[in-house]
């Protein structure tokens, strides 16, 4: 491991200056001419995957902008941050989207927020900001005050429909409010009879500007509570990822017991999130009994969370350096008892449910994302594992107490909705096992680090395996107990673009379950607009006139 890491440093040395920023994160300062080579090398050459891009306005520090691309190398347990310095006089960076399609949204977000242009980007359009946002106003730049209001006067010139499909096919609008969606976002499906021929996605309707608020007016130890509010389902994982990012920068020695408690709560969160998802999936398949069963079982997990943290959700458990509440013996015993019963009930019910013909029929071979496409879009978590990618931050970049437990990573090769159901189903059982192991070996140490000193202007990367996949938080520290730059990236950000691949040529009836199958968390993702690629012309649907009339 050590030697392969050394070899990696040597290899990366070909592209630029390499430094370790903590024990498992490398930074490579590269010149723009080498950017595509290193991206290709990291994503396609040595089996890593593209994780996130971050823009940063560092003019007050070194009179330049920076773009950071982060790659994960699972087999080495290393994250590589590729740093490109961008001069304010020439805000251009070569785009890596032609090489890694998954970088599309990431780069467009940087364009929107910082005005940095990505040369040769295939789709250089606005992603998050509305089309009528004034030109030349970049909200995440440091010279833009967080409380400044922008008055939008022009009408939006955003195209209403995808011109390749509109008029030829029936348009089925799913969203912004639709029974199949529990958050506001918009899918426009172009259907020929019952078959989906194309799709358009528009999201980022619940953007809350959290990054700007955190950077401008919050202290280091307030941000965990804001981070937890990124998501109403898996908020704690954001909280942990942020804390780990800062702890990694500061080299804080977090006590083992705090690590264990964090892992326990993360697994409780995973169980309730997966059960919630299974229930919704069954509901979309018209099997409401399955929905009722899984949600009833989930309530037991919610009760556990309430007993351990005081809240069903949004635990407010973490601070930099540790946790705020301990788990005593009586609580640990109760948790174990509940989990024992839960496992029995859950396995029992799921065996029966997964034996139902309709469930299998409606999910097998539906919404397929094959291995190649999954790699292209850098999908994460259960979506990746259902497409044959063996990835799990808990295993390959162990954090908190995961290095002390033994667990399996379910991987399926079919890439269909059924595989995604099975991956999550098995993960629930694994999570119960993990919590039991952690409770059995809970170390007797304090729960909060004693000495906390955060150095200025250093980069930190914190990563967790959220229920939906790798959750990464990138921070640059600042003086006065503040954070200079904070970029949280939820896994759905990488998973949603792959949806349009999954939806193509599928039945309209399967659209809700396909959309749901990645367990999309739109509030986490906070943003988007993407258009499916399709060629050739098709016969026109007979009812199109009527449908157009309805939309007009």
């Amino acid at each position: 491991m050590q030697s392969s890491a050394t070899k990696l440093v040597e290899e990366l040395g070909r592209f630029g200056i390499v430094e370790w920023i903590d024990s498992h994160t490398l930074i490579v300062h590269v010149d723009r001419s080498k950017l595509r080579d290193i991206a290709k090398y990291l994503h396609w050459g040595i089996g890593g995957y593209f994780s996130v891009s971050i823009g940063s306005d560092e003019r007050p520090l070194d009179n330049s902008f920076h773009v950071y691309h982060v790659f994960s190398l699972d087999h080495l347990g290393v994250y590589v941050v590729v740093d490109i310095r961008v001069s304010p006089g020439y805000l251009h960076v070569p785009s890596i989207t032609p090489i890694i399609p998954g970088a599309n949204w990431h780069e467009r977000e940087v364009m929107d927020y910082f005005g940095i242009m990505f040369d040769d980007h295939p789709e250089p359009k606005r992603l998050i900001l509305p089309y009528n946002w004034p030109k030349g106003v970049y909200p995440l730049r440091k010279d833009y005050p967080y409380n400044k209001k922008v008055y939008i006067e022009e009408a939006s010139d955003e195209p209403e429909h995808d011109s390749r499909f509109a008029g030829k096919y029936t348009i089925i609008p799913i969203g912004p409010y639709h029974p199949a969606l529990h958050e506001p976002e918009y899918f426009e499906l172009y259907v020929d009879g019952e078959r989906i021929v194309g799709a358009r996605y528009k999201g980022f309707m619940v953007h809350r500007g959290m990054e700007k608020i955190a950077e401008s007016r919050m202290t280091i130890n307030q941000i965990p509570f804001l981070a937890e509010r990124i998501c109403g389902i898996c908020g704690y994982t954001h909280n942990v990822a942020y804390c780990q990012a800062v702890e990694n920068v500061a080299g804080i020695d977090v006590p083992e017991r705090a690590h264990y408690i964090r892992s326990i709560m993360l697994e409780i969160e995973r169980i309730h999130s997966h059960m919630l998802w299974l229930g919704i999936a069954f509901h979309f398949l018209g099997f409401d009994t399955g929905f009722m069963i899984t949600w009833r079982l989930r309530e037991k997990v919610m009760d556990l969370a309430e007993m351990l943290t005081g809240n069903r959700k949004t635990y407010g458990l973490n601070l930099i350096g540790g946790v705020r509440r301990d788990i005593d013996l009586s609580k640990a015993l109760k948790v174990k008892k509940v989990l024992r019963d839960l496992r029995k009930d859950y396995v029992d019910y799921m065996e029966k449910i997964l034996g139902l013909k309709e469930i299998i029929y409606r999910t097998r071979g539906v919404g397929v994302l094959d291995y190649g496409e999954a790699r292209k879009y850098s999908v994460l978590g259960p979506t990746a594992r259902a497409s044959g990618i063996d990835t799990d931050v808990r295993k390959y970049h162990p954090y908190a107490a995961y290095r002390h437990v033994d667990f399996k990573i379910p991987v399926y090769k079919d890439g269909d909705v059924l595989s995604r159901i099975l991956v999550r189903h098995e993960e629930i059982i694994e999570s119960i096992n993990i919590i039991e192991q952690l409770l059995d070996n809970l170390p007797r140490t304090p729960i909060m680090a004693e000495e906390i000193h955060v150095p200025e202007h250093r980069i930190g990367v914190g990563v967790t395996e959220a229920p939906r996949g790798e959750d990464i938080h990138f921070v640059i520290t600042s003086r006065d107990n503040k954070i200079y730059r904070w970029r949280p990236r939820a896994p759905s950000y990488n998973n949603i673009p792959a949806l349009l691949v999954m939806l193509k040529d599928q039945h309209l009836a399967d659209a809700p379950i396909i959309i749901a199958s990645i367990d999309p968390c739109f509030s986490c993702t906070d943003h988007v607009l993407i258009i499916d690629v399709r060629t050739g012309s098709r016969k026109q649907v007979g009812l199109r006139e009527l449908s157009r009339r309805g939309l007009g």
Partner: protein
């Protein structure tokens, strides 16, 4: 004669009350099976009463067919019930009344679907095309099954078909089984509630209705469900005894329990799977019809 008419009207009064209550019962049974408490049994009735008291409202400028569809559907169902004995043994009858009932059932689905298409709402259109496909298959199957009983009894008079009496013939037993399946399918029960499919197309055929119009549309669907169940029941329960009303009430409750239990453990089919299922069933039923004509 006048008593027959009064009896038939009494039947109508009964089914108007029974259809929503039976739906309420089914909701309660499903709730029990899912470990829920569930709404009170009259909840569906309350819902419909509430909807009927609200003004209807239509978006855009839908066609006349769409405006009148719920009312025509409702009227059709009520008229159809005049020919089917339900609680009491009274019903109107004349030679060929079975054709009238068949027409009323078929026309209702078509009116609802065609009206829905004219709204231009893409969800309604998708729901309607599904409704038309399913309805064509369903009505074909209904026609073949009724023809089996007509062939067995050599009569176009509905009441002469009821009940199936010894000596039992193979074709009438098979016809009965097919009709029982059909009652389930035509009742918009899972996995066959495809034209509405709430999570997919948000109500489909009835998406644009609100208030009174929606109330009548839902009421009519419930009546249709009960109409099919009543025909099935009449094929099996003894009629013209003092116990007829008891047999009928027990019968519909038993079927409600049975059907809601099946529904509780089903997911929704995709349309093409449902259609292929009905195609196979229709072919098999066609063979049964041939058997019936041949005297088996």
């Amino acid at each position: 004669m006048i008593w027959v008419f009064i009896g038939a009207l009494a039947n109508i009064g009964f089914i108007l009350l029974a259809a929503p209550l039976l739906d309420g019962l089914e909701r309660k049974i499903k709730a029990w099976l899912q470990n829920r408490r569930g709404p009170p049994i009259p909840q569906t009735l309350y819902d419909i009463v509430k909807l009927l008291r609200k003004p209807g409202g239509l978006t855009g400028n839908p066609g006349l067919l769409y405006r009148i569809a719920p009312y025509m559907f409702f009227t059709n169902m009520v008229i159809a019930f005049l020919f089917i004995p339900t609680l009491l043994d009274y019903s109107l009858s004349f030679i060929g009344d079975i054709i009238v009932v068949y027409y009323l059932i078929t026309a209702s689905s078509i009116i609802l679907a065609m009206g829905s298409i004219s709204t231009g709402n893409p969800f309604a259109i998708t729901g309607s095309t599904r409704e038309i496909s399913l309805s064509m298959a369903g009505k074909l199957l209904t026609g073949i099954t009724l023809a089996i009983f007509v062939a067995v009894n050599k009569s176009f008079l509905i009441t002469s078909l009821f009940p199936i009496i010894p000596p039992y013939r193979l074709s009438s037993i098979l016809g009965l089984i097919v009709f029982a399946i059909l009652v389930y399918i035509e009742g918009f029960r899972l996995p066959f509630d495809i034209p509405e499919a709430e999570p997919e197309i948000a109500g489909g055929v009835i998406i644009e209705y609100t208030g009174r119009d929606l109330g009548f549309a839902i009421y009519s669907l419930l009546l249709k469900r009960l109409l099919y169940t009543s025909i099935l029941l009449n094929l099996v329960i003894p009629r013209y005894t003092v116990f007829s009303p008891i047999y009928y009430i027990v019968g519909v409750i038993v079927f409600s329990i049975l059907f809601s239990t099946i529904e509780c453990f089903s997911g929704r089919h995709r349309i093409e799977y449902a259609l292929s299922f009905m195609k196979k069933l229709s072919l098999a039923t066609g063979v049964v019809l041939v058997l019936a004509v041949l005297g088996y």
